[in-house]
Each structure stands twice: as structure tokens, then as C-alpha cells.
């Protein structure tokens, strides 16, 4: 692969990202220190690391939910100064091209399952009518089609995470950022969910960054890495 084509294939790239928090007893706690990360089209990358090492922080920086101290982020061709304050245009890019999955599923309790999935579509300004069949298909793929009129509080944890994955995928995003998606689930359900997530993102040709504590889940991705002492080390 030449340098040129390789660059074209990159969906998400960050250079020398640093972030520190000032808290009471440690005025300058450096969570991330000159982190570089590259994610290629249709590839998956897992990040492991001790609790509190900054994995969630890294995902937040990449999604531009908060500014970094320094560094540069490339969303495809788009170059963003990581230290700048996130802008509204970035939000609309995020709506179209980034899917998120969290440990606690964050479904909207007032909406039913289908409406929750379609929330991504609404937020990105796409047509509901056009995307509704796809939403149903994804729910079917996740095995929760029968619950599509149900409200989230009546679903099990595993079912909720399936809905959240469908929601992350429905817009055909370029990247999915998954922060410990199986953290709240038992081993067996977690494995099922993980399989669904990996299969679906592979099928949809969506790139995936997976933060997990589970080494066996981590091994299932194309690349694996460990975040330690503020540095991301590829294995």
C-alpha cells in the first residue's frame, strides 16, 4: 500500500493528542500524552487499558465532545485543531458519520425502540421514510425486531444494547466509537453482543474503535492497542 492510497483510506486520524485535567490534589493530571491514532476504512481497532487511564477521554476527544490541549484530528480529509472549541458544523458531521455505543445504553425512555433508532436519522436530517425500512432491518439483524414498539424500560440490558448498536449503525456512519459496550452485561450476552457489533460493522463497512477490558473481545478486532501512561501502544 502506497503512502497516498493509505491516506485516502484513513477515516479517522489523530496526531499528538494531549489532554490533562486539573483536579484538587493533582493540579496537572496528564491523561493523554502525544497520542497518535489511525483508523482505516472498514477496519476495527480495540483499545485496552487500566481503569482511569483515559480511554473514554480519548474517544471523547476523537468525537470532538471536548477540546484537547493540543494535537490535530483528521475526520477523513477534514482537518481539525483538537484544542479548538467544538463547533456546530462538527456536530452535524458527527450526526452523519459517527455512531456511538456506550456501556450504559442511553436509550431515550419516552421513545419506543424504533423511534430510538430513528433518532439518529432525525438528528442528521435524513429522511425518516427512507430510513425506516433500514432501521427495521437492523433491528431484525440484532434480533430485536419484535420489540420495535416496546419502550426501553421494558427491555433487558442485552436487548437495550442491541437497540443502541442498531441506532449507531442506521445512518451508515464511517466510524463507530464503542466505549465498553459489554461492560454492563454478563459474559455470555457480552460475547453475543460483541459478535453482532463486529459482524454488523464489517458488513456495513464501518470502521470501529472498541474500548474494552476483555482481552478476548479485543483480539477479535483487526488491530489491538493498549493505552498506558498517556501513550497508545499498538500491539
Amino acid at each position: 500500500m502506497s503512502e497516498q492510497t493509505k491516506k485516502e483510506n484513513v477515516v479517522l486520524h489523530a496526531k499528538s493528542l494531549s489532554k490533562s485535567y486539573s483536579i484538587v490534589d493533582a493540579p496537572d493530571l496528564k491523561v493523554l500524552n502525544q497520542v497518535n491514532i489511525t483508523l482505516h476504512e472498514s477496519s476495527s481497532l480495540s483499545i485496552r487499558g487500566d481503569s482511569g487511564c483515559g480511554k473514554s477521554t480519548l474517544l471523547n476527544l476523537l468525537a470532538r465532545l471536548e477540546p484537547a490541549d493540543e494535537g490535530t484530528i483528521f475526520w477523513g480529509e477534514k482537518r481539525i485543531a483538537a484544542a479548538s472549541k467544538p463547533l456546530a458544523v462538527e456536530a452535524s458531521w458527527r450526526a452523519k458519520h459517527v455512531g456511538v455505543v456506550y456501556q450504559s445504553y442511553y436509550l431515550i425512555p419516552e421513545l419506543n425502540v424504533l423511534e430510538n433508532v430513528l433518532m439518529s436519522v432525525r438528528l442528521s436530517g435524513l429522511s425518516i421514510a427512507e430510513y425506516e425500512p433500514r432501521a427495521k432491518e437492523l433491528l431484525d439483524q440484532m434480533g430485536v425486531e419484535s420489540k420495535s414498539k416496546q419502550i426501553p424500560s421494558k427491555l433487558s440490558g442485552g436487548e437495550r444494547q442491541r437497540v443502541a448498536i442498531a441506532r449507531a449503525l442506521v445512518n451508515r456512519p464511517k466510524v463507530i466509537l464503542a466505549d465498553e459496550p459489554t461492560g454492563n452485561l454478563d459474559e455470555r450476552t457480552g460475547a453475543e453482543i460483541m459478535k453482532l457489533l463486529l459482524n454488523a460493522s464489517a458488513k456495513e463497512k464501518t470502521s470501529l474503535i472498541l474500548v474494552t477490558h476483555n482481552p478476548s473481545f479485543a483480539r477479535a478486532t483487526d488491530e489491538t492497542s493498549i493505552l498506558k501512561d498517556g501513550k497508545l501502544i499498538y500491539e
Binding site: 473514554s56 477521554t57 471523547n60 468525537a63 465532545l65 471536548e66 456546530a88 456536530a91 452535524s92 458531521w93 458527527r94 450526526a95 452523519k96 459517527v98 456511538v100 456506550y102 450504559s104 442511553y106 431515550i108 425512555p109 419516552e110 421513545l111 419506543n112 423511534e115 433518532m119 439518529s120 432525525r122 438528528l123 442528521s124 436530517g125 435524513l126 429522511s127 425518516i128 414498539k149 416496546q150 419502550i151
Partner: protein, 533 residues
């Protein structure tokens, strides 16, 4: 589509899928609706009362009153001139003053007015006022069948007085009682007293049937004893005698059927005038003028003198000892001038010009400005009281929405992570305020319309609860809600403005109430929001 999702979420938070309506939104909407309802109803009623007072005033005083500015005016010529103006419907000159009335040891000094009985009814609906003043006697084994007096009864020795003056002096106009008849069958005909003039004497009258067609009328004094038939009924006996009328029923009368009436004469009162006092100073003692009470009247307009007397113009001239006197005249215009105060004011000014400045013509709304200022003040006061109440409701909504924001911190974080802008996230809460306000206003308007529609039954329910069946009459004398014209918004511009004002007020205030939570939500740091427990 893109801008619509905050509205969608706002709607869903108020009316979640599978739940139809959240408890919070139900309470909030009902609260707004009640507020809007109360505000509209109160203002609509105030306006209804104003409208009512307006028409009462115009009834009592015409549209305008002309007052001479000079001592010597040719009022006959001038009233003629005014009455010929195309806008003028009727002109009615009057003489006014105060007279001292006496009956035995009782006295009253009513405001007294002399009018030309042939002309007055076009300006003052005196017959209507006489009807309002009429209160029948509660008879034992008898019924008050006195006919309501009319202005035809007014002559120079007859006066009409208000209920208050009558009570103070202990006087009545002529009264007829019909004794309850055991044989009386409602299927058979009736005998009515058609007219009782002020000169009838106290007497007992009997009408007795000789056969089904023939009857006898006689009085106890024995001055009348006449046989009549239906074909040849009793002719008018003239002034001083009651006028009876026979009404045939479904069944014919039969021999022995009789109707017995007790007639009471009208009271006489003695009247002294200021001119008599002047005469007395120069040792010319003149006896008091004796007049009869022709009828009791009541002017619905509360600003009118409650102690009042109305007599003929000649009677007042006599009392004043003047001839050809006139203190002014009432003017009634064509009905187009009823509502437009500006037009009326201009017209009055123009008529003053026509009369070369000899007269001042005062429109009713200037003459009674004090009263309308009072009503306006009352209305503003109501609104002033209600606005803080509205704001309290707004605070309640704001607090409730604020709690929602705090409860939904993590969802707000998620929405931003999913690509929502801070502004849109804030809009969710603004929109909730807007929806609550709009639905509340809508329902409140519906309630107000229902209230206006069924106001009579509702009000009389309330009033009878407070004052009892008997007290209702007393309350309605002041607040006559039965004849209240409360108009629907499609009927009058004023009512439309009231409705729209409160609709916009409710929506505006609720939306503003959503603003603070919205601002709070939009300022949230999404990364921190997602971390929050």
C-alpha cells in the same frame, strides 16, 4: 426535518410513546388552561358589565345632554333645530330640581325632573322603567293583579317616583288584589284588570256570572251595578274606575262564577318646592301641591339618582313658579352613533356649533366618565392581579422543566454525542414550554367559551349558593348578569382581542419559562454529562 427533531422530542417527552401523557405535562397544561380560562372569563365579564352599563346609561339619559350656557335661550327654537338634524332621532327637553315630598310624617327630597310625556319615551324608556319598579304585594288568600302602570297615566297631578322614595314615604300606586276563588278553574276564562289609573277609589268590585254569557259588575259603594254580555261588554267607565277585561277560556263560565277584587287607591303626597319657600318669605303662604302616585319606577343605571321623581313639564313649571322653563334636553341619535365614541364626540361638537355656542352638548361617556374610569380601573386591577398569578404558574413550569433537564443530563450528553447541537438540545425545553402554553391556551379558550355559553346557569348556581333563592334578586339588581352581553370572539373585535391577548400571554410566558432550562441544557458539557451518574 433537521430543525424538527427538538419539537419531536419535546412532544414525546410530554406525550411519551405508550403512555399518551406524562403526569407533569397534564398538570402543567391544566394549570395553564385554568389560568387562561379565568383571565378570559373575568375580562369578558367585566366588558359585558361595561357594555351593559353603557346601554343602561344611554337608556336613562340618551346619547347626550344639552345644557344652556345662557340664562335666556329660545329652547323651543333650538330643540326644534336639533331635532331636524339627520343624525338625531329624538329630542326631549326637561326641567329639573329638588322637591320636598311629604306623606304624614315622612319626608323625601328626591331629584325631580319634568318631561313632556308625549315626547319623552323616545329618549327615556320610562314604560320599561315602570315595569322594572313594579313589585307586586304578597297577598294572603289573594293575588296582586295590578297592571304595570304606563306613561299614559302621567298628568299634571300625577308623579312617578322611585322605589326608594316610595319606601321612604310609605306610599304606593293604585293596587288591585284578586281574591282566591274556590270555584276558580283554570279551564274557564279569567277577568283581568287592564288599567288602574291614579284616581281610582278604594273599593271592592265583584263580577258575577248570571249564565255562561251574561255577567254583572258592581262595586261595594253601589255606584256601579251593570249587567253585560260578551257581545256587549262593559264600556270604559272612564278615569277613576278600574278597567276590566274578560278573557274566555276553554270551558264556558257558568252561573254563580264570580271574581272579587279589592282595589286600593293610590297614595297622595304633598309637595313643597323652593319657590314656595321664597313666597313664604314674602308672607304669601301657598298650600302644598297634592299629587297622586301614578307608578313606581326604577332606572337600571346605578349612577342615576336612586331618589327621583318624574312629573310632567307643566307640573315642574308650576312648582318652580316659572313659565316656559327648560334646563336642558336629552338627545338620542341614530344607532350608528352608539358605539363610536369619537364620532359621537365630533357630532356633539358640531351641534354645539349649530346652536351658536348657546348650549353645551355633553355626550354620555363624558358625563359618566368617572364611572367608566372606575370600571377601567377595576379591569386593570384584575389584570394586574392576574399577571403575577400567571408568572407564578410560569415559575412552576420553569422549575418542573428544570428538574427534567437535571434528570435528563445523560440523555442530553448522548444527544450531543449523536450530533445534536447545543442550540437544538436547548430548543427541546423551549418547545416543551411552547407546547404546554399552546395546548393550555387552546383548552383554556374552550373552557372560557363553555363558561360564556352557560354563564347564566353557572352564575345563578353560584349566586343562589351565596345569597339563596331570595337574595338572587338583590344581587342581580347590581350585577344583572342575566341580561349581560358577553360576546364570543367571532362576534366582537374587543372579545377577539381579549382572547388573543391571553392566548399570546399564555404561550409567551410558558415559552419563556422553558427558556431558562433550555439555556441550562445547552450549556452542558457533553463529556461530563455522559459521565454523570
Amino acid at each position: 426535518m433537521k430543525s424538527a427533531w427538538p419539537l419531536f422530542l419535546a412532544w414525546k417527552q410530554l406525550f411519551p410513546s405508550q403512555k399518551k401523557v406524562s403526569f407533569f405535562s397534564l398538570l402543567a397544561i391544566v394549570g395553564v388552561a385554568l389560568g387562561v380560562n379565568v383571565m378570559i372569563v373575568v375580562v369578558a365579564f367585566m366588558q359585558g358589565f361595561q357594555q351593559k352599563f353603557r346601554s343602561d346609561i344611554i337608556d336613562a339619559q340618551g346619547h347626550a345632554r344639552a345644557v344652556p350656557l345662557k340664562k335666556q335661550v329660545d329652547w323651543k327654537k333650538d330643540t326644534k333645530k336639533i331635532s331636524l338634524q339627520p343624525e338625531v332621532e329624538k329630542v326631549s327637553p326637561y326641567i329639573q330640581g329638588h322637591l320636598l315630598l311629604q306623606n304624614r310624617d315622612y319626608h323625601a327630597v328626591p331629584f325631580s325632573m319634568g318631561i313632556d310625556p308625549s315626547q319623552s319615551d323616545g329618549v327615556l324608556p320610562l314604560n320599561q322603567f315602570l315595569q322594572k319598579g313594579f313589585i307586586p304585594i304578597q297577598g294572603y288568600e289573594s293575588r296582586d293583579v295590578t297592571p304595570v302602570p304606563t306613561t299614559d297615566l302621567l298628568d299634571d297631578d300625577v308623579v312617578f317616583i322611585t322605589q326608594q322614595v316610595a319606601n321612604r314615604l310609605g306610599v304606593r300606586s293604585a293596587t288591585a288584589l284578586l281574591f282566591d276563588d274556590q270555584n276558580d278553574s283554570s279551564e274557564k276564562g279569567r277577568v283581568l284588570v287592564e288599567q288602574l289609573d291614579p284616581y281610582v277609589e278604594s273599593d271592592e268590585w265583584k263580577i258575577e256570572f248570571i249564565d255562561e254569557d251574561k255577567y254583572n259588575i258592581r262595586n261595594q259603594q253601589g255606584s256601579i251595578d251593570i249587567n253585560c254580555t260578551f257581545n256587549q261588554p262593559l264600556e270604559d267607565l272612564g278615569w277613576g274606575y278600574p278597567k276590566f277585561k274578560l278573557v274566555e277560556g276553554n270551558k264556558p263560565f257558568s252561573k254563580g262564577d264570580q271574581f272579587k277584587f279589592q282595589i286600593f287607591r293610590s297614595s297622595t303626597i304633598e309637595i313643597y318646592s323652593p319657590s314656595m319657600i321664597e313666597k313664604a318669605k314674602s308672607d304669601e303662604m301657598s298650600p302644598p301641591r297634592e299629587v297622586r302616585v301614578g307608578g313606581i319606577f326604577q332606572v337600571p343605571w346605578q349612577g342615576f339618582h336612586t331618589d327621583a321623581l318624574i312629573g310632567t313639564d307643566r307640573f315642574m313649571e308650576d312648582m318652580r313658579g316659572e313659565e316656559n322653563a327648560c334646563d336642558g334636553f336629552f338627545i338620542k341619535f341614530q344607532t350608528d352613533y352608539l358605539h363610536d365614541e369619537n364620532k359621537l364626540g365630533e357630532l356633539c361638537a358640531r351641534l354645539e356649533g349649530e346652536l351658536e355656542g348657546d348650549w353645551s352638548i355633553i355626550p354620555w361617556f363624558i358625563e359618566n366618565a368617572w364611572f367608566f374610569d372606575l370600571l377601567k380601573f377595576e379591569e386593570y386591577l384584575m389584570v394586574l392581579i392576574m399577571i403575577p398569578i400567571g408568572l407564578v404558574a410560569a415559575f412552576a413550569i420553569a422549575i418542573a422543566l428544570m428538574t427534567t433537564v437535571l434528570r435528563k443530563i445523560r440523555e442530553i450528553g448522548l444527544l450531543i454525542a449523536m450530533g445534536g447541537t447545543r442550540f437544538s438540545v436547548g430548543m427541546i425545553f423551549c418547545m416543551q414550554g411552547f407546547i404546554i402554553g399552546s395546548l393550555g391556551a387552546f383548552i383554556g379558550c374552550g373552557m372560557a367559551l363553555t363558561f360564556i355559553r352557560y354563564r347564566d346557569s353557572l352564575m345563578s348556581f353560584i349566586v343562589t349558593r351565596i345569597a339563596g333563592e331570595d337574595g338572587q334578586a338583590g344581587v342581580t339588581q347590581f350585577y344583572d348578569f342575566y341580561s349581560l352581553e358577553v360576546s364570543y370572539p367571532w362576534e366582537s373585535e374587543q372579545s377577539m382581542i381579549t382572547f388573543l391577548t391571553f392566548i399570546f400571554f399564555a404561550i409567551g410566558v410558558s415559552t419563556l419559562a422553558g427558556l431558562l432550562p433550555a439555556w441550562r441544557a445547552s450549556r452542558m458539557n457533553p463529556a461530563e454529562a455522559l459521565r454523570s451518574e
